[in-house]
Symmetry: C2
Subunit: 309 residues, 2 copies
């Protein structure tokens, strides 16, 4: 596990390779606690420095606050090290975000990943600033290490430079990083250059190497559920000559998955490779791949080699 820190950056969470873990579900669509712990354990033993739990890939918003807290508690009881977990806690309702954040901290997690409230569109930066500021103020806890979650395609609420600047200026000891899932390398580069004290994780491994070369913190990605070993190899020897070739392989895998509904496609692959059909379960509004999509995915992946637990 690399825990390479950029100058001036803080954070108890490791840097490096993070799977945004899928959340396996029983046939009644409850969290499958055993399968989740097994999968997280496998990931940590196969290239992942840490795991993002209940992010977009983990269908976080499709579970109630209680389900999310129960799952996290069970994960920690099942010996997944809490300090290697980055836990999604951002909800639309401030009391829910505060509840989940406090709960995660009390379990000793390495950090929390916080979406802005995502129902209202076209809100101004003052409101979004206030949403984050109130979480920090209500927690009022020096242990809190918060990662902002920029994903405008889902939230409709971009975190722009001015907003990040206001937040990191007001709470320099609390806001320690950002997950940038916007897919715009220019935005990641802007953050990296404007906020050298902030850990920047791209939300796709397509930019893993490019951002590492600029001092990026690693990568937190959905597809790392099935590419963790390859991603780790790139991260571990990113300064070697032939690493570009590995990055091209990793990029190709990601681009292939990007042509499909990502969560359902990854769960399908997990089911195929583990032999456990339960992996295909998803909560609405996500739906399983249909027959045509499965055939197309399998054709597309046929020529690509990657590893799954």
């Amino acid at each position: 596990m690399m825990v390479e820190k950029q100058e001036g950056q803080r954070g108890t969470l490791p840097t490096g390779i993070f799977a945004a873990t899928l959340t396996p579900e029983t046939k009644d669509l409850a969290v499958d606690h055993v399968a989740l712990a097994d999968h997280c354990g496998w990931l940590l033993g196969n290239g992942c420095d840490g795991i993002a739990v209940f992010g977009t890939t983990g269908e976080a918003t499709s579970f109630s606050a209680k389900e999310r807290m129960d799952a996290l508690e069970t994960l920690v009881k099942n010996r997944i090290p809490a300090n290697r977990l980055l836990v999604g806690t951002g909800c639309c309702a401030l009391p829910d975000t505060v509840l989940l954040t406090r709960h995660a901290m009390d379990l000793g997690v390495g950090g929390v990943l916080v979406l802005p409230p995502f129902y209202y569109k076209g809100v101004d930066d003052n409101g979004v600033y206030d949403a984050y500021a109130r979480v920090v103020q209500q927690l009022s806890d020096t242990r809190l290490e918060m990662y902002l979650y920029h994903f405008p395609q889902m939230t409709g609420v971009p975190l722009d430079r001015d907003l990040i600047s206001r937040l990191t200026t007001a709470y320099p000891d609390t806001i320690v990083g950002i997950k940038d899932s916007g897919g715009d390398f220019g935005h990641m580069k802007m953050i990296r250059q404007s906020f050298p004290g902030l850990r920047v994780f791209p939300g796709t491994e397509i930019f893993l190497l490019d951002l590492l070369e600029m001092g990026g913190a690693g990568c937190i990605s959905a597809t790392i559920n099935v590419t963790s070993r390859l991603a780790a190899e790139i991260h571990n020897r990113w300064q070697t000559d032939d690493v570009r070739e590995l990055q091209q392989r990793l990029t190709l895998i990601r681009q292939t998955f990007d042509e499909f509904p990502l969560i359902a496609a990854l769960k399908h692959v997990m089911a195929e490779h583990t032999g456990s059909d339960g992996w295909r379960n998803v909560r609405p509004p996500i739906s399983p791949l249909d027959r045509e999509q499965i055939q197309r995915l399998e054709r597309a992946l046929g020529s690509i080699s990657f590893s799954v637990g």
Copy 2:
């Protein structure tokens, strides 16, 4: 109160004029239960046939499930007739939607207004269908009367003709209406013509008269918080000769508010007209109007007469 039914339409809720009520808040941003009951009582005495509680205007998604249930219980205890309430219960997480829907029904509300899960974008209709179907199936209660909530600008999840058709075919006794907040008259007209058994409420009073003339059910709108008497007058005599003039006045008021952040602007007007500054409180990510917006709003409204309790 008009309870005029279109042929073949069902629903215990009245039709007609509904304010999508604002949710007044204390200085700690808790629900101000007393002010909410007062406001709802005023609305029912001043033109409203019913009230939509915890819709978009009511900052529904900014409150936890418990806060929403507590507020609804208190409202009913404060003698607001439950059968005149349409209660927003649609959340991202299925268990939350089921919880809020069952709770509202147990209080005897006239109907529930259900958003599709709104975090994920680009989901296919099968997933959205399944999200609604599971709520109906898990409730498994013949008393359930559900109104679909079409608001693609906020949710990113449009409810199109095929989806509405599948849902009304599968659950003809449960899906009794739709609130169409998309602002596209063509979409409302399509629904009205394609689904004659469905009550159609536009989400803006701009289309009140046009849709009434096509057999629409009335209107559920944010601005009816301050225009209920005028809206009711149009609804009560929509077949008279001079009603177009009233509609033009109503349209002008709505268009004026549409140039401002709607919730904050309406709360500002409520504060001005009731003399209670607390009305200005909003939960993030909504933020209060700034000084420039207040001046502009007051200038714009200066020449328009409307009534507030």
